[in-house]
Symmetry: C2
Subunit: 505 residues, 2 copies
């Protein structure tokens, strides 16, 4: 390795170390920190963001990048070194346009907003939270103003979470998706009586749920020597390198799928971080960059594996043993149907696979309108509630079940939501190929052998970290960019099976 590349790697390793500290501050804030610690934490986060930003955007980093780029001749464009220089250069070009002070203000406001959101949720009090959202939006607009190379304000924000994807591209995918989902949801509503999900509701002691989730994620690849699982109001996953992965869950004593599928979801994220190649550790490529790709991992495990028929065969007897009082007569088919019920509901993270997309379309539209000034924060709850009624047919009883349900806007994460639905699309594309390439996939899942699935994902996705933008990685694995068709076809096949009806392909 050349001297310039070495020096670049050394500098970037320090940036990664600072982010490690910052992410721990965030992880701790959401899992461990006593509430009165919020103000000092917000200040620490702001300073960390500012100093990390300054180190990264410095002219010295730019020089090292240029020198390293000049030495790349001959390196394959998909080599670690070439990807490192290319990806980092793109991020550097973007980051250096943002003043360090603004970076610190964004971090501080996000941290304070997060705490205000927790408080506001206690009384479902959007009014108390509104000033913090105003502030986050104002800062997001100032952030957008740092750039002139994007077509739309929202493009700037989206690009931070889904690099090289535009608002127009997402809008086109979502238009197709919505057009496909709406009739499917309507048809299934007409056959609501074919699925009985009452078995999912009952009394499921939390300690047994913890045991169940521990068993399931251990099959997936969780191991206490390199992972943690904790409780959080809004579950998430973090990674401090591949050997220290943290996932979180929340529990509902009356509804076990919340903890179970939440745990599988976050473990799916965690496996991505845990599977990144050693050669990318302590480099900017050592995280999954695209959130859509990240979400594809969590959704694949949660829905395609976890809600699939083979896994339900594995799960049903274990559930019957653990929750004998409520589930002694459980059979795999009944479980499979229950966990795949399609029914409009209020909370995104608990939505079924079909209605989930509409939750995202709603947020995608609203946050564009907020950032472009077409919708005021004051009018947001009303806009949320009326559009929710329009898309999902439900009245919103209060803001905790509506606009206050997600942490994202509180934490300043605007432009993040679309990646969830993109993740569903990508997951279906990968799932299709995994089926073709992993022998006996379904019977192995039914036998509790989840390693073949994990290893296929590690080989084709995880190990590459952030080397490739989403569409390039997908081209390498499935031969084309993000597409709606595989998801829709997967969904119709499964839901047709569940409901015993023919959903025209």
């Amino acid at each position: 390795m050349s001297d310039h590349l070495n020096r670049l790697r050394e500098r970037l390793a320090q940036v990664v170390d600072l982010r490690h500290a910052t992410e721990l501050l965030e992880w701790d804030q959401q899992t461990m920190m006593p509430p009165r610690g919020a103000e000092a934490r917000a200040q620490a986060l702001a300073t960390m963001q500012r100093i990390t930003h300054e180190l990264f955007v410095s002219a010295e980093t730019g020089r090292l990048l240029e020198d390293a780029a000049a030495e790349l001749d001959g390196a394959a464009s998909d080599s670690d070194d070439a990807c490192l220089v290319r990806v980092t250069m793109r991020r550097w070009e973007k980051a250096r346009r943002v003043p360090a002070e603004l970076t610190a203000e964004l971090a501080h406001a996000g941290s304070v907003g997060h705490q205000a959101w927790i408080e506001a949720r206690k009384n479902s009090d959007f009014g108390a939270f509104a000033p913090y959202l105003e502030r986050n939006l104002e800062l997001a607009r100032r952030y957008v103003d740092c750039f002139d190379s994007f077509t739309r304000a929202y493009d700037v924000l989206l690009d931070d979470y889904e690099p090289q994807m535009t608002t127009a591209e997402v809008a086109a995918l979502f238009a197709d998706l919505k057009a496909e989902l709406v009739p499917v949801i309507a048809t299934l509503a007409d056959h609501r009586d074919r699925v009985d999900d009452s078995l999912l509701h009952g009394n499921f002691p939390i300690d047994r749920q913890r045991q169940l989730v521990r068993e399931v994620i251990t099959l997936m690849g969780f191991s206490p020597d390199g992972w943690r699982i904790d409780d959080a109001v809004h579950p998430f996953a973090s990674g401090f390198g591949s050997a220290d992965v943290r996932i979180t869950t929340r529990w509902d004593q009356s509804f076990f799928p919340s903890g179970l599928y939440g745990g599988m979801h976050e473990c799916g994220h965690g496996l991505y971080e845990a599977g990144i190649a050693d050669s990318l550790q302590r480099t900017p490529l050592g995280h999954g960059e695209s959130l859509g790709l990240h979400e594809s991992q969590s959704r694949l495990w949660e829905n395609m594996v976890g809600r699939g028929r083979p896994f339900c065969e594995l799960l049903a007897p274990r559930l019957a043993t653990l929750f004998g009082d409520s589930l002694s007569n459980l059979d795999a088919g009944g479980l499979y149907r229950a966990v795949n019920l399609v029914e409009p509901s209020h909370i995104r993270v608990e939505a079924d696979e079909a209605t989930y997309g509409l939750h995202i379309v709603l947020r995608f539209e609203l946050e564009q309108e907020l950032i472009e000034g077409r919708l005021s924060v004051r009018d947001l709850p009303e806009a949320w509630n009326s559009r929710f009624k329009e898309y999902l047919g439900l009245d919103v009883p209060n803001d905790v079940h509506g606009v206050l349900q997600d942490v994202h806007w509180a934490a300043g994460l605007i432009g993040y939501f679309p990646t969830y639905a993109l993740g569903n699309l990508i997951a279906a594309q990968l799932w299709e190929w995994m089926h073709a390439e992993v022998p006996e996939l379904e019977s192995r899942i039914a036998a509790g052998e989840l390693a073949p699935s994990r290893e296929w994902l590690r080989e084709h996705v995880h190990r590459h970290g952030a080397k490739f933008p989403t569409n390039e990685l997908l081209r390498r694995v499935v031969g084309g960019p993000i597409a709606v068709a595989p998801f829709v076809s997967y969904l119709k096949r499964k839901l047709g099976d569940v409901y015993g009806i023919d959903l025209a392909p």
Copy 2:
């Protein structure tokens, strides 16, 4: 406040923020981190130390300090501003002599050493740990070499933990202390049969111990909105400002005093951090600087309050209720005598108040010899064991009960141990004055009213943070510097009472 002072405060606030992040990395390492995370954590800690160091020792900080100092004319020497400039200037003068690279190496070696210590303890394998201690000593010597203003190598290290205290001063205090302790311990050994401590040993379910400690520390001032309590192999306390205090404990199912008094001890540290004035938050004065003073707080709560007769009256009926099987016939007098048994033992943190000092003298001597090259790491276990036999009369069965028992040397903390014994001395000085100034102190403790004690300490010690060096603070509170006599007189009075004998004053 002047403009220069403002700018100084702003810069120092950033340094405090970085330390907040660093201390969270350390807290997490000891309480939460999965073991495989150690290497990435060590690198993150090293980078954080280097960057914090660079920010602090920069010429810009020096200029701001000088400008601020020039503007202090008129400010009382004990004002926040004057203390801030004076204390920070002294630390800056010391820190700027240390290369950033060495700071990072010290942090990295300490972090790696800590993990190696955990591993080595599993098999009581000093040999596996020795190279890490060698490395820590080598780095400590390089650190010492950065200074020419100290008389002895050990002075440099001691000054980091107990500013402005010298090896010679400590040696003189310890010589007096040892001379006083040895005959007391010998006398009590002759009356060993007067104290029955068998009631402390039994089966005490950990969940009940947790409940007990939670109750006791809540009386002391612990509150979940601004504190946490967690488990750690080697208990410690951290504070991220006064509103986020973290304490840790460990539990022994067969011996409840370990968790109980450990909890009170760490809560005593925590109260110091929680009691620092708001005006000092986010400044370098917002922690207790002297570790001796810090330890005085933990030991005062653990021993003078916790092992005092009044507190035993409060505790005995609660213990009888919680641990009915083992302790149904417990009376306050029996408890009081049992928890004050003096008997040589192997583990420092579980030693009684009289023999404790000898554990420290041993370490104080050995670490001077190690750092000055008069003792090799290879010969350390043998030196430990033979001196342990000489001072405490016991054979050391294995290294976990000997040289591997403490984390300090593993983490690179050399020169730290003496502060524990200094803390005992200071605690007795404060305790004497608290008795004189707090009305009905003993009867209020017996009634579970611990707030008056806490508030006296907050008023006289805690709120000042790191404004004053130990001896100056003591002069303000008790009229003189650290002294041995109050501790010895306290000890003889209490132990005479416990053993029913007259220990000549």
